[in-house]
């Protein structure tokens, strides 16, 4: 869980960093250039396979943990007060992960599938991902789903970040305050960046003008 978790934590930095190019509000110019690099560079394509593998292994490990942990207590407590000894989100990683998976399916359907169809089915047809984001986030319910997904991500990371360090044996008086602070900082920054994207498009803080678009550079 920890190894794949770290891998996914690293991916989120790249993902949030690249997507933050939309905040330049240059009608998607920079974002589309970086997006095109990410979808065409063969090293990135290769790493993408690793990302999917990491995600699938993370899910399988989670399911195995869940199955073994349920089996470890065949008779449940009649009276139990877990809130006295642990945080709700540390106990709800499976639920939060499931919500994230549902969100991921929606998310990939929105942005990943379209990019791939343009790339492979339509022989590398011009594809303006920035325009697509702008369009998708005009619907309020899409924005709502994205914000819910980010809330699930927030709590998943709040536990997952420091938990991954603990699983790999990094926990002592010297390191734990640093790790905890870094975990909270990372989680807040990543989730805030992601949450601002649909909000900024929806409320017109960043704009898109179709006429001006020469968004796809010639290769």
């Amino acid at each position: 869980m920890a190894f794949t978790g770290f891998f996914l934590i690293t991916f989120l930095i790249v993902h949030a960093g690249i997507n933050s190019c939309i905040f330049l509000n240059d009608n998607g110019k920079t974002f589309n250039i970086v997006g095109r690099f990410m979808s065409h560079n063969w090293i990135v394509r290769f790493l993408e396979l690793g990302l999917f593998a990491g995600l699938i292994v993370h899910i399988i490990q989670g399911l195995m943990l869940w199955r073994q942990n349920v089996a470890a207590r065949p008779v449940k407590y009649y009276s139990n007060k877990p809130e006295k000894n642990s945080t709700w989100y540390s106990r709800s990683m499976g639920l939060l992960g499931t919500l994230l998976l549902i969100f991921l399916v929606i998310h990939l359907a929105h942005f990943y599938v379209g990019t791939k169809v343009a790339l492979y089915a339509h022989h590398d047809a011009p594809h303006n991902l920035y325009a697509e984001m702008h369009e998708v986030f005009q619907q309020w319910w899409v924005v709502a789903i994205y914000l819910l997904g980010i809330v699930a991500l927030f709590w998943h990371l709040m536990h997952g970040f420091q938990s991954a360090f603990q699983s790999l044996g990094v926990n002592n008086k010297k390191f734990i305050p640093i790790i905890n602070a870094a975990g909270i900082g990372y989680t807040v920054i990543i989730c805030l960046a992601f949450a601002l994207m649909p909000i900024a498009f929806h409320f017109g803080w960043i704009t898109y003008t179709p006429e001006v678009v020469p968004a796809i550079p010639v290769h």
Binding site: A71, A72, R73, V75, Y78, Q166, V170, N171
Partner: protein, 254 residues
């Protein structure tokens, strides 16, 4: 602290044997002193049951000083009851008010099957210890106590880990029924000291393997174990065991 007496309703798990299907029974106890320990309150109840020609409730206890690790009740949804760093025998009735209803259950874990009522079989812990929780020593006279220099910091950390009384509250309270806190305390205690060095790697591998074999769950780092541990064993021991395990795995050629 002011002394008072109380009447209580107790909802206690009764189970004839490991095969039988158990269930809750409700009892009333009267005039319980706030100065009594929780087990003394159970003694009063059992005396009452014996007088009524009923079968007393079976529960584990030994030293009643909070150091042996025998008592093991899940009281009102918490291992060893509502107080922090405290065993059931050291839980005093001043933790409760007149008229309270108290639910008492045995530890719930596949690796701790109920023997009778509130008594569970914790020999799975013994088998984890047998798998590697020991050191090899030469026979003959005992070595002089200070012959082997040990860093004060390591000695203290080993002592803190050795405070584990093996009561099983960590397993009982863990949402996954994991025995990582117990096993890691026992691994840490020996890994920190030079006496534990010869079996250091086989110890952690064998104890973890035995722990998994016993059917305990997996650690998901909720840290409920540390919060409920009567001896305040730190989850940094779990991190240490994870380190020991990783390094032993990397060195292992089997």
């Amino acid at each position: 602290m002011e002394h008072y007496n109380m009447n209580l309703t107790l909802k206690v798990w009764k189970q004839k044997n490991s095969k039988a299907k158990g269930g809750f029974e409700t009892y009333q106890v009267k005039n319980i002193s706030s100065e009594m320990s929780f087990l003394e309150m159970f003694d009063v109840l059992n005396e009452q049951l014996i007088e009524e020609n009923k079968e007393p409730i079976a529960f584990d206890h030994d030293c009643r000083e909070g150091i042996c690790g025998m008592c093991s009740m899940y009281i009102n949804g918490q291992a060893h009851g509502p107080w922090q760093q405290n065993t059931t025998c050291q839980l005093h009735m001043r933790a409760f008010k007149d008229g309270d209803t108290i639910v008492v259950e045995p530890w719930r874990s596949r690796a701790f099957p109920v023997i009778k009522d509130l008594v569970v079989d914790r020999t799975s812990f013994d088998r984890i210890i047998q798998a590697g929780g020991y050191i090899s020593v030469n026979t003959g006279n005992a070595v002089d106590a200070n012959a082997l220099p040990i860093d004060k910091k390591d000695a203290d950390a080993a002592f803190m880990a050795a405070a584990c009384i093996g009561c099983g509250a960590c397993v009982a309270t863990c949402k996954n029924g994991s025995a990582m806190l117990f096993t890691s305390a026992k691994v840490s205690q020996l890994a920190l000291l030079p006496q534990g060095a010869p079996e250091r790697e086989t110890r952690v591998l064998n104890m973890v393997a035995q722990m998994d074999k016993e059917g305990f769950g997996n650690c998901t780092n909720t840290y409920a174990c540390e919060a409920e541990c009567p001896k305040g064993i730190s989850v940094s021991n779990i991190a240490r065991m994870n380190r020991e395990f990783l390094s032993a795995e990397l060195n292992s050629e089997e």
